[in-house]
Symmetry: C3
Subunit: 373 residues, 3 copies
């Protein structure tokens, strides 16, 4: 794992879909939340969302509302969104800017570093020490500009987890990109169905007629075929782009090499990130399980910072947004149909085809984390 090398995709004959309980059981869902989402590094956003000191945003991880905030000296921190006085939710807005974090109930006030700096009348309490009541923090780290948090006390360092990808995505310029659009989807399907759907294009001819026209379903070449990082690229028809018009909708996101101008790279980052890197934009899905049968999906369209603005030549983000919003909805719909059928007593694990080797690999990785169910 010390250096990346191109692996050969291997189809494991006999691989089948997961048993029913993994898609419907509240107990397994709770186990996933505890063993995966409350323990692993999960992506909560991008550093551009909190560009200036005092900028913050809020995200829910494993049932916990967290505040991600940039401090005065530029460093980013994560805190539980809970006042130490009577437990009140501190930040209501999804994002904002503040000089300090003040509780809306009794006005206890915390610095951007989490320290309690104001607590009216508490000096009258014998033995009360502000130093005992800082906000509870969570671990926060960056990879390629994306913000990851972990609720674990002592998580494996992020750079160690991502070591296999070191330098691999550099030329897409990910830390510098900015989101032009976010859409939230509330999908009535188990979160694993979203990953399994993302990881194959066997379904593309029937489900995505427009996508299939621009990017042939059988052009996939995977170079990450086992483990927490999975995927590869598909070919884009010459001169085309994955937009409604079929034309590029912005300047290139990075410093593309020859063939990459006609490729879209799809990678899943266990457990909650999908990275879809096109020549002209990068699509990012955050996958947030809400219940065994429900998943919240945040989808961002990232562009080069110099591409944006009405005056930038050829900049037309809606062309990409509309394309993938349509494609997303096609995917969520078949995921919801799968959820419905899998709940039946007639469901049995079915056979994966050779075109579904990545979903099968994703299932294997998943079972390494949630194995005793």
């Amino acid at each position: 794992m010390s250096a990346f090398r191109k692996t050969i995709e291997t189809f494991v004959a006999g691989a089948k879909t997961l048993p029913q309980r993994y898609f419907v059981s509240p107990e397994i869902f709770a186990e996933e939340q505890a063993k995966v989402f409350a323990r692993h590094w999960v992506c909560v956003g991008h550093q551009s969302q909190i560009a200036k000191a005092g900028d913050y945003f809020v995200r829910e991880v494993a049932g916990e509302s967290l505040i991600m905030v940039r401090g005065k000296s530029g460093e980013m921190r994560g805190f539980y969104n809970v006042c130490r006085h009577r437990g009140t939710r501190l930040c209501e807005a999804a994002s904002g800017h503040a000089a300090a974090i003040q509780c809306p109930y009794h006005a206890w006030t915390y610095g951007l570093d989490g320290r309690l700096v104001g607590a009216p009348h508490m000096d009258d309490v014998p033995g009360f020490d502000k130093g005992d009541y800082a906000l509870r923090g969570v671990k926060l780290a960056l990879w390629e500009g994306f913000i990851f948090v972990s609720l674990a006390d002592k998580p494996v360092p992020l750079e160690e987890v991502f070591a296999p990808l070191l330098g691999r995505f550099t030329h897409w310029n990910l830390p510098q990109l900015r989101s032009a659009k976010r859409i939230e989807y509330d999908v009535r399907a188990n979160w694993k169905l979203i990953f399994e759907n993302y990881s194959e294009c066997y379904h593309c001819p029937g489900v995505h007629p427009l996508l299939s026209k621009v990017s042939p379903y059988d052009s996939a070449e995977n170079d990450l075929c086992e483990g927490p990082f999975l995927g590869g690229f598909m070919t884009i028809a010459k001169g085309a782009s994955l937009t409604m018009s079929g034309q590029a909708c912005a300047r290139p996101v990075g410093d593309m090499k020859g063939a990459d101008h006609a490729r879209v790279f799809y990678y899943s980052i266990f457990p909650n990130l999908l990275l879809s890197m096109h020549p002209d934009y990068v699509l990012v899905h955050q996958i947030w399980p809400q219940a065994p049968v429900r998943t919240l999906i945040l989808c961002d369209w990232f562009f080069h910072p110099e591409a944006t603005g009405v005056s930038a030549p050829g900049y037309n983000p809606e062309d990409a947004v509309e394309f993938w919003d349509m494609t997303n909805k096609q995917d969520w719909h078949v995921c919801e149909l799968s959820q419905q059928g899998i709940a039946s007593r007639a469901y049995q694990p079915g056979p994966y085809s050779p075109r579904e080797s990545i979903p099968a690999a994703w299932d294997r990785e998943y079972l390494r984390h949630v194995s005793n169910s």
Copy 2:
């Protein structure tokens, strides 16, 4: 049970309503679904709904979505609505027409007989045999034109179950009738309250003033008084009909004998069918328990096939539809009030009157199936 004979209605003094738990307990509801709805023959519709080869409709039985479809040689079959590949729901529409059953996800295709006939790329999987992946079927049988299914592996043959009714309903012409209208009702009451309500007219003077005017509440004469088939007839005022106008709304459904021209026959067929045979139309209720406190009711108005059409003399189905839609809603309302009161700690089984001998008999039949609660 070999031949039908007219029984004498006997009122069992001391009969009381069922204990509270039968109306509110999730455990008893689950037991009912398992022991009754997933085991017995239940009515899912009428053969006229799938008149031509390729016609299908979908219905949910005991939590399972089923496809009822007419095959190429005219025979009807029932299948679980679940793809054998990745478990996807196959048919989304409530009904339709198709040459084959194709999965919307990866295009696996099944014949109308359930056999897997197309599975792209699966030939590359060593050992894969299409013969192993036919749709899972359910037992299907006909009685008087109504389609019944059973999720049991080896159900008692339908003709054996219905032997006591052999030939009894012949002159109503049930297999030839066609539904002119269906209304679905979502009722906040336990399904057994629907049967208990249907089985007596003690409530009619207060709840159904219009019905009581045309059909006296004390005119009931029951001829099936114990077992899975219960009911009898009530008198219709001379020259009248159970319609808003009080006049017949279609030609007779069958070959009525003398007194039957002024009678409406009400029968409950355990566990999910109510048959209300009027001279000019037949009302059919399917009763589908959804939860201890919720029941879905499908109500169809059937007419003689030659009665229908705008040109048919005196054909006015809305006259009957409006009458029973009003009467249905009056009934569902008192059922919902009963559900509310029965949930109270003040509820105790109350005494049935002699006018409620059929609800009491229905309760006894029910307890033969769900006895160990």
Copy 3:
């Protein structure tokens, strides 16, 4: 407890908020319903709501729908809203007037005293005796014009429970007042948060800017500091009133003594009543827990009977209604924020300030009733 005496407010250093489970656990919620709301005297309304014989209103207590009705000789009674025949809910309307209580299903009829007086066809049932089927009653008693009920078989007499308050509230004239307005609030917070919020004004500067202007947050003087009755008064700015306009909105509710013209008295009456006595009106909150995270609150604005009517000089109830509706909503909002934060794994009981001695006392009283959790 034999006689009321002014107690000295003592702050218990080290007092902290309740542990998380008291705010989220369904088991503790069920225990509260059983040990508190289904056992204690709880306030369901005011005698003025059923002024005349035959007047009734319906309220739900511990999941039970109850009918409070004034009988022919003027006495008030409480009954379970359940027919003794088949358990049907009897009264659907929230309030009304009736000569008798008749079941909407089969027309069984009860007198205002609960006796079964009509049951069609039941005389044919051997051994049936109307005397066995009276409505099931609940205990009902009055305190200062407010109606309390208890679902217990043998509750401690109400006058014994309220003995500590004997004569204390006389000059507010509570039995004679009438509600000019009721607003219902559906709050997504545990019911105990409502009491804790009501019992301190530490939050007022930030949460209630208008209230704080008229009634300084640090003017509270509590005279009931331990036990089921808690509270005291706050000062109203000279010449002002707790209304939007800042002016009195009606004639005084009672025979105020000197300083009381510039005081508002706030008392909580365990377990479900808040009494806020202003010079010109009395605000009454009923607190009805619906779920661990949901509370129904009924808020009434009571006025002197001679104050009301469009012709009464200076009568402007909307001035008070608008003021407290705004203030109520400010409170419910921070209660909902607390509920959200307390559900976090980051929540730990936090330290009460000296300004929160009454919430701490309320918690202690609560734990006397629900102690083994």
